[in-house]
Symmetry: D3
Subunit: 315 residues, 6 copies
């Protein structure tokens, strides 16, 4: 079965897809149609289903799985699927939603093992205990290991957040020998927990939306709250120097306050400054990689950088 | 005894003063001197004590009270006291530090009574309980009712924070009939708690300095932490709509995130938008009033506005 | 007859509407259609009339009243009326344009009475005379009491400017006891006259456009010109302190110059600073209220704030 | 008699100077001294008079003329005069204040003749009449032909404003053949009147200060007021297209509103855009020329550009 | 044959046009169409060709010439051609691509003659030799005399860059008598070479695209490279003062670095400051002129200024 | 012999120091003194020599070595040396200037060896050849291995630039396994050459000043010029993809153009984005480390970050 990123203009695409977005619209001739976003494990494609009926409207919805047969066309340089036949998947099709979701290259299990290994590199009893306490919660652990790192910008796929965290920990480990002045425990704990608030900001990993908490409090402060709860649980006093330093690194990880990207405080520790740039590297390189993926053009538009970027390594 | 704000160029000033700042310096001729800031209940004045000895160095320090005799001169349009005689205050002088600190015009007791009265206007059981729980702590209450609202910019005097809070509550109460769409309980709780984190950010009311927590976490998030603790104590669940709304108003009270003034989230509730501007009015009008105070000039420099401002009402 | 804000997806809407905008377009199938904005006393709705003829083109135009029968659909989460039948209103329909225009909640007459009452609170002979002289002109008075406060952002409805002014005066009156240092006469005159230049900037209250003066001079300076004319008429000298202060408050009411929002000078009087924020509160709270109106969603997009805002009070 | 700009480190400087600034200060050893700015026709120099007496304090003041004998030293790379002898000028010295003021290279009379000649190039009866009406006022004419163009930045010398205006008119005349689409009359009238409000913003040409009007209204709007008065006097209606265009060019001459340099409206006419840049060229080239003057260094600090600039043409 | 700028709503337009852009799209009814931009010597128009076939897709492409018959309609206030008949131009039509390209008002030959004349005004042997060496290259000369000055903003037509350069030289020559402190040779060489890098940044004059060099290096630094090559060729040492000054003027010609418009260094020479504003005048006045062209409206939207501008001189 | 960073308030400091800055000033009592900056291998200290004579003025100058005896005092929280005895160093003192210059912790020789080793990791023949060609020049190599990376901000000591480069190469090597999409050769060459223009921007390693080229062209473009020369020398064509990519990484290494930090182009390659942040990490961590050095305070002011930073690791 051909995957979305392998299908090009003129190809016929038949298979099962997850409905990731569905908008009911009226064409200029007055007839109604669906404007859809379909997904499989390789990526997403926008699609049109023309001349829909009431039955269509009742049958299809976001998060349902459909079997689709259509032709790939180009619309404003984007691939678009013109659906010719569609039906809902049946129990006998035996399709699991998990198989239709874009994931990181490394398996979630491997990433999780790696994260656990890095955990053992946090020697500070305080920080080690704190991190483990947070990860003991099944709810947090499940969210942390399945959510994307964000809605659109970078690591925007199943378990993207976990991949982002593990990559940051790897990078940090690699750079510690070069910057021995850094407090290794503090940096690793920051890598692991900097976006922990996203487990409360985003609703679910398949088609995430912002929660009320996410909109009103934001993931940075939601993360601080999770940390405070864990600290209290294991008896770390609120004035503990390491706890304060960890919270500082998280509160400042969007860069200087006056840049207006949402840090609550400007970085005042080498670890905070270091982590901010490490996070930028990982977010932007991932965003660029995803923009290049399945794209054979020399120049590709990057939504994150808001400019065209160049793919030196395309085959 | 003449007060600082009543003394002008050429006047002799004799009295007891609190040493608010003391720097030991070397004059161009190699001799040592003190560069001081002295305070009484009316304000502060910079002062010089020339040709100091080792005894001077051992005797005088910040927060001590000294009896001083000197002449007021002008230096770059600022009053400066040339000290001619100085001694530490003695027990028999019977001078209390409280009597040498600048305070708001209204007494701390009256402000506190007024605050308690406004508390009864918070009818929401959740918010009422939350606020009262926070104020039950003697430590918090003492800090809240003695600290300045800030180091320099506005309400920078003993109990300035309390005055700021009470004034905001008064203003809000006055405007509720005009904007009935506002949730009164939410706005009043925001007035009361928006700067509650300053009770942990600033060290003490007489000569406040930033605490480690203040530098690393900042008063906005410190305030959220105090609120979370109180909520947990009285069993308000973390998803409670009113609790989230209150935290939102506090997290956004420095204005839109992209302005870069340190809000962690941009205001998304009418109450948040309303409170931000109310806070700006009170902060800036107080700063201008303090700049005008004891100044007979038509135009006065305002450190908060960074420009000259005009005193229409000087006598 | 159902009103626009009471009609939801799937409803049939029959009634008289004011044509507020009309664009002739060509559909992708080559046929022509009207893209309309229709209004009644409750608000506006976009509408489509498909397959139009030359007769349609000659018959319908902006500011005409039409009887319309159609079905409400949703297009990109906005309501859209699919017109099925349409005709111009006839004399025997006895529909007045006034009845199809969105207005403030309080009647224009009541607002005008209130404004006149506040006028008597301006005790300064100079400012009182000045304001009254400006309001004596029937042309100015008519414009001031019928225009919206702006094209789109806030109080964008019939007599919205008058409602904005009266609300500001009410707010100011409520806050005077709290900020006794403010010159009450100056603030009230500023409330009344701060947007007086809009009477020359906007062409008419029903479907306002910018005048040439409005585009080239702007309402702030047009307002200063109206004030200067009135001052000359009643013999207030151009150096009069109160006149200068009033002009200063108006010239600075868009905030500090370096923010780039069009103030000609940065505020240097407490009254100017105070008024700027008061104006912001009223503009933004009104804009949010209008965004919430007739919208049952929890989160609503606010064009003024350029973000989603939350409606705590929806039923 | 040696002029200020001809005196270098180590030189003795004897002559008559205008006291342009005088501050009484206290040295670190407790003795009092004057910190002065002295001026002659070539420029200004800072000066110190040590160990002053009460007689000194009563004798010397800003705008007085003094005969001074001193040695030029260098302080932070700036020339500074160490005064050894000083006395007030006497009637028999026969020194006129005019001879001690820095002026433009071209005489005020010649500049005035040139301005009058350009006036005849304004063929539009409306604009011609308007400009002449403004110049008929002796008060305005005197101010316009003696004031500096600003306090510090550019053309900051006697009749600098006149020189600035005439240079702009010359430049505009030179460029008209190249940009024939420009309305010549409009541009010339803008050159002449763009800073006319400075005649009310600045107090006097010898040691100018901001007037109350200048601080509260600003020279841009003060200029509009002068133009409106003249228009009314000669019966130009307020809706006159040329009058509106002229006011637009003046209101927008500080560049786009969102740059925050104080334009009340952004330029919407080619003449407005053209004039803004012409004004920038003249202001900045004059500022750089004045920074180079009397300075033999290769690199000179420019207060206007806030960076070091290079003098290619120094001898 | 009617030209594009002379055709208005409802007109029939028949003639030969250059296909400047061609996008294949799918209409809401599923049929395919071309979205085209057609050009002739007067300007460009967007056009639609409905219901295209495979033959259409194979026949038409960018840079081909087509004979078209269609009706002008209005779509969102922009003219749009509804194509009814179309065919490729045939050899016997004898249409040259040159005749279908928008050009400057003055002929390329005249502009070139004028440029050569100005060259003789560069008396500095170094700069004269440098400029001539660059212009000796046929490739550079051809590009310089045919390219637009930019893709869209200003002088965006055949030989627009040459016209821009010559106009700048004319303007500079006119202003030299007024600013004698300017180094004339340096300014003229800057006019000529400031955009010389565009000869490598843009691919071709008819339908220019950015080259890889253009995207990765940018025209400013590409220009510096061309100058360095020429300097080496004729033996001008890299430390030559005039060479450095020329490079400085080019590197700073987008204004101060901190404005973020791409200057590599902020202007530190009067010639650099002067040239920056001269360039701004010519770019913006040209952009406004092109926006007005063939537009009979009083107010026209300017893409360069991002606001509506006013045409005082329309007939 | 005690080093500067080991001397605290009250200590006597005797030894040889390099005069890094010398300003002649006049004290408030009229006597002359030297305001000096003295340096040894551990850092710098400001110093005063009171009551200087003509002999002093003739004897001492920047870059001379003096033997000094003085007492360390505190002035505004900065250490300051009060010189009691001073003489120039004599040949028999046998003091080399090299021994009095602050250096990186790793020896210049080791750094150079490491750089050479990394060179061998650049496998691309083009980039390898290019880099080696540049390093063959003894002048460039000497400058590259002795200069500071900047005047003040980071790595501001002898061979600081070399240390900065080598550290960047180490960091990059460590991160390559994590970001395999990066072109390793391109990143390493960028590390090595990104600041190569500083070899022409700064005059000498001991007391560096900006050269004329540095001021007028800036180190980014000076670096591009060096690269172009080397490319020509070894016959790499100007359109070579790797050459263009390298130049792009260097031209964009100050971040996005619109931030206004002097990049000539915004980063469009993953390598460019990656390098920019890597460079930020190294610059800022080094600046913070140098601010902490020899400072026992908990909070230290960082000139680079313009805020107080916290030293978690002080002993």
């Amino acid at each position: 079965m051909k995957l979305i990123t392998d299908a090009f203009e003129g190809d016929r695409l038949i298979g099962f897809f997850l409905i990731k977005d569905l908008q009911q619209k009226i064409a200029a001739n007055g007839s109604e149609y669906f404007d859809l976003v379909l997904g499989d494990s390789s990526g997403t494609i926008s699609a049109k289903l023309w001349d829909i009926t009431d039955e269509h409207k009742e049958t299809y919805a976001v998060k349902k799985i459909a079997k689709v047969d259509g032709i790939v066309t180009l619309f404003r340089n984007q691939k678009q699927l013109q659906i010719q036949r569609i039906r809902l998947s049946l129990p006998e099709d035996d399709i699991e939603i998990q198989s239709l979701v874009q994931k990181s290259d490394v398996s979630r299990e491997e990433l999780w093992q790696e994260l656990r290994m890095f955990l053992e590199e946090i020697y500070s009893p305080t920080l080690n205990k704190l991190v483990k306490t947070i990860l003991i919660s099944k709810e947090t652990r499940d969210a942390l290991t399945t959510l994307p790192a964000g809605m659109k910008m970078h690591h925007a796929y199943y378990a993207g957040l976990l991949e982002h965290i593990v990559t940051l920990m790897q990078s940090a480990m690699q750079l510690f020998p070069i910057y021995p002045q850094l407090n290794k425990d503090l940096v690793l704990a920051t890598c692991l927990l900097h976006d922990i608030g996203k487990t409360k900001e985003l609703s679910d990993p398949i088609s995430p939306e912002y929660t009320t908490e996410g909109e009103l409090v934001g993931h940075i402060v939601l993360g601080i709250e999770l940390i405070n709860e864990a600290a209290r649980e294991v008896g770390i006093p609120s004035h503990d120097e390491e706890l304060l330093a960890l919270k500082h690194c998280i509160l400042s990880h969007h860069g200087d306050v006056d840049l207006g990207f949402g840090s609550a405080i400007s970085g005042k520790l080498p670890e905070a400054i270091f982590f901010h740039y490490l996070d930028q590297i990982d977010a932007k390189l991932n965003a660029m990689k995803m923009s290049f993926k399945g794209n054979s053009e020399e120049w590709v538009y990057s939504p994150m950088l808001k400019r065209k970027i160049r793919n030196l390594n395309r085959e």
